[in-house]
């Protein structure tokens, strides 16, 4: 725990949180702008929905890729990897603590910005009502359950994506290449290029923007949601395992 705390403090001291924080706030504000211009309705649901529609597919994963690259690859680029990974508790734990620290920071930023955004809507702009596109009226309880479940899935997806960025980072050891490969993977997934190799339903990248859980009305919504959540967790654990095997084998400068 202490090591994770130290890693978090290191990230804060080096101000690594500022870029993702500013970017997330900026893109959430853009979502609010577009939501306010939607003729279908200016309600709470629409505003929340826009955050997921506009950002989850590319913007947020890229912010996360840059952040996780900063957290890990900079150690290789600054030639501090040897100091960092040759700790008495071993390379695997050192990598895991770094990953957990990064995930904690990105989750806190994400939850806080989202929560503050919701509060601003509710208190400052007095945006009320949950009538989605004038169709169905959900109860507040149902709305919050759906909105925050979607948020949780989004966060788990982003930290899984972060784990993938870690693998790329360990292999390339170069920040810009890591970010470019991550971007390439995202774009390839959206163009369906992975579908020949991996079925969509078992590809964690396909859960990037599951905002439809906020609207889906059939009974299966929670089962599908849990499946997507568990798919991300399994993939995340798989990625961690791969990064353990890789970090053990690489040469530290």
């Amino acid at each position: 725990m202490n090591v994770i705390k130290l890693e978090i403090e290191k990230c804060i001291k080096e101000r690594k949180y500022i870029a993702p924080l500013i970017s997330i706030v900026f893109f959430i504000a853009i979502s609010a702008y577009f939501a306010s211009h939607d003729p279908r309705g200016r309600d709470y649901f629409t505003y929340t929905y826009y955050v997921f529609i506009l950002n989850c597919r590319v913007i947020f994963p890229i912010i996360v890729a840059i952040f996780f690259t900063n957290v890990l690859v900079k150690e290789f680029e600054k030639k501090t990897a040897r100091i960092h990974f040759l700790k008495p508790y071993g390379r695997e734990k050192a990598l895991l603590y770094k990953y957990i620290a990064g995930s904690v920071i990105i989750s806190i930023i994400f939850i806080l910005t989202f929560f503050v955004y919701e509060l601003i809507l509710l208190i400052v702009f007095k945006i009320k009502g949950l009538e989605i596109f004038n169709i169905y009226e959900f109860s507040f309880k149902e709305f919050y359950l759906r909105a925050y479940s979607t948020l949780l899935l989004q966060i788990v997806f982003l930290i899984t994506f972060g784990a993938m960025v870690f693998i790329i980072g360990i292999i390339t050891k170069k920040g810009i290449i890591t970010i470019l490969i991550s971007l390439l993977i995202l774009i390839s997934e959206q163009r369906g290029l992975f579908l020949d190799i991996i079925p969509k339903r078992i590809l964690f990248l396909s859960t990037a923007a599951k905002y439809n859980y906020m609207l889906q009305l059939d009974k299966m919504v929670y089962i599908s949601y849990l499946y997507d959540l568990m798919l991300n967790i399994s993939t995340l654990l798989g990625f961690i395992l791969i990064s353990f095997l890789l970090i053990r084998r690489i040469e530290l400068d």
Binding site: E92, E137, I202, D218, I223, Y227, L237
Partner: protein, 236 residues
């Protein structure tokens, strides 16, 4: 291997989560394949009723009426369709559904009246003449034939053959009927053209009984069997 404990922990967690994911996937597939993922008609009706201003939107009223029809609650279906028609008297979907509802309620006079409105609004649509012709069988086969002739007139090439066959059958049957033989009706009842109109078929049998008073025992039995068959088919 260094850090053996951490490897074991991660591998164990990975297998547990993969197993849970697999079971969730299987359960999801089971729900999809068994059709249990969809809401029941009653659940959908309740959801629709929660909508704001349901009585203001014609499309919503028609959809709610359709759901009640699926649930065989025809009186309620009629109620919502009449509300929709109050707002848009010439809404052809509402009129079509209302005619079907009246047919299911065995109110053939109203069903015919509604079909007549549809034919007046869209005289060039062969389907309107087709449905109208079927309902008219409960009244007068010759008027019904006139409507099929109109369907043939307005049908495009792909549908023309269907209406021509129908016209031929109705004309042949009418010859029997003119000769005071009810067999003509039986041919129509057993044809593909009345496949989904069980209430019309039953009404025709009822008309045969009242029109042909001097039926032989074997004819009565034949009609009874046919009636049973239609009723069973209706239930199934």
């Amino acid at each position: 291997m260094h850090n053996k404990k951490i490897y074991i922990t991660v591998i164990t967690l990975f297998f547990i989560s993969a197993l849970v994911t697999f079971f969730l996937y299987e359960y999801e597939m089971y729900l999809i394949n068994s059709g249990k993922n969809f809401m029941s008609v009653n659940e959908t009706i309740n959801l629709y009723k929660k909508k704001k201003n349901i009585n203001e939107n014609v499309d919503d009223l028609i959809e709610l009426a359709r759901l009640y029809s699926v649930n065989k609650e025809y009186e309620k279906s009629k109620e919502y369709l009449l509300k929709a028609l109050e707002k848009e008297p010439k809404n052809t979907i509402a009129l079509h559904r209302l005619a079907l509802v009246y047919e299911n309620l065995n109110d053939f006079n109203k069903a015919i009246e509604t079909r007549q409105k549809l034919v007046d609004i869209e005289p060039q649509k062969p389907e309107n003449h087709y449905y109208y012709a079927i309902l008219l069988l409960t009244k007068d086969i010759n008027v019904s034939i006139n409507e099929i002739e109109l369907a043939v007139k307005y049908a495009d090439e792909s549908d023309k053959q269907f209406y021509m066959e129908m016209l031929e059958l109705f004309k042949n049957s009418s010859k029997f009927i003119d000769e005071e033989k009810y067999d003509g009706y039986i041919d129509i009842i057993n044809s593909k053209f009345l496949e989904s109109n069980n209430n019309v078929k039953l009404e025709i049998i009822k008309n045969i009984r009242s029109k042909y008073r001097n039926l032989k025992i074997e004819d009565i039995n034949k009609l009874e069997n046919l009636e049973k068959e239609i009723k069973n088919n209706k239930i199934n």
